[in-house]
Point group: C2
Chain length 250, copies 2
């Protein structure tokens, strides 16, 4: 990992702002934990939220979340990095910001698959809503606060990623929905598809913690176990008709 090369040159206590998203596949560690392990002298911060690089470059309004161990530190960096159209809001819920950012990529793949199969706007809205409930359940089990998951870096990034062709995770799902095999869908999307590697570990974590996450499970079955996308998505959308919030803690 390239980060390791930084270890000898970093001053003690220097801030390292992580802009990647995911959960380490083998260990289940969040990125701030990976950074703390590899660069023990650093103080990791997490920048996450609904902002496509292209929008930022064009100077369009963007609002992101920056998380640090203390609100004071997050606030200082937010002030320093914000501009008139690039706004950063401070948080001290590092796990919450990381959980939302990682899990929304998995759900974006699901929405891409549904769109690739031409299921329509209404189906995608239902899928995103049920996906958000999974993000909240699993995120909270991992230690995230509810308000963080409901904020910019959770819900905000989820709904941006689940509906935009600018998202690589969404485009990856779209190609699968249109019939491509996961490997060729991945090759067709230029750049890293972060949700691909997050899916397996997210599914594993939800099983270990006994969290109901049928959408994450369906994505895992499709991209990691060769399940047929049409069948998996149809199954999700035809859950038995029952009270909407039965057995949910919400």
């Amino acid at each position: 990992m390239v980060l390791r090369h930084l270890a000898p040159v970093l001053q003690d206590g220097i801030a390292v702002i992580v802009a990647a998203k995911g959960i380490e596949r083998v260990t289940g560690l969040f990125l701030h934990q990976v950074v703390a392990e590899i660069l023990p002298a650093s103080r990791p911060l997490i920048l996450s939220g609904p902002g496509f690089a292209q929008d930022v470059i064009k100077g369009l309004p963007t609002a992101l979340t920056l998380a640090a161990t203390t609100l004071d530190e997050a606030g200082r960096w937010s002030q320093d990095l914000s501009g008139p159209s690039f706004r950063i809001y401070a948080s001290d819920d590092i796990v919450g910001v990381e959980a939302g950012g990682a899990l929304k990529n998995v759900l974006a793949i699901a929405c891409g698959i549904a769109d690739g199969r031409g299921l329509g706007d209404s189906a995608r809205a239902a899928l995103t809503t049920r996906g958000f409930a999974e993000m909240v359940r699993l995120g909270r089990a991992l230690g995230a606060r509810r308000e963080t998951l409901t904020g910019l870096s959770g819900l905000g990034d989820l709904l941006l990623t689940c509906s935009s062709h600018q998202s690589r995770n969404y485009r990856f799902g779209l190609a699968i929905g249109e019939g491509a095999a996961p490997a060729s869908a991945c090759a067709a999307v230029e750049g890293v598809v972060e949700g691909m590697t997050t899916t397996a570990i997210a599914w594993q974590l939800s099983r270990e913690r006994n969290i109901r996450a049928p959408i994450i499970g369906a994505v895992h079955a499709i991209i990691d176990a060769g399940a047929e996308p049409g069948k998996e998505i149809a199954r999700l959308l035809r859950r038995p008709v029952r009270p909407e919030h039965e057995d949910e803690e919400n």
Copy 2:
């Protein structure tokens, strides 16, 4: 009101399923309360949620919420009305389902305005997320349950309506964002723009109950008080940089 003509012919205790959305402008009453007043012999149910009529007609998968006074009654109707692709989930939170359905229309106008001004996907995602927080705050003050607002009829319908040209409320906002006056924007959108009449009363209710709702306030200023859309939206997107969830109950 045409409903009044039904009063003499309705059998006692007959179910009336309301598919409209809104809050009565002068009284602040929800539609189930209006129906109960005009048709006292009826039992009003509310059908709401993310489903465009066109998607339903095409047989695409749709998931809606049906609310009644008891889960038992909602459940029976949900079973009877559901089909393989048209799924209805039962709820006994009538106020919650109505609050979400009414308020999302106001927020869809805001998103339309932002898109009409070309502010980009990232800005719309931030606006929808902050708008959802307003829906939750005001909805809860009006008696809605959190899980209903986070479900299909609240969040689900919000994100469908805020991002789709199929929504009249969104198209109304879009025309305003592109420079049309509210009256001509309304004329250009064929059909009823439910959010237009809901905006003023939603803003009034939020002021009466001391609920922070800057997005609803901005839409009200633009469509009811002639405020300049560019200025209002810019003000929303340039809130001071501060902790994301400061003073929120969330």
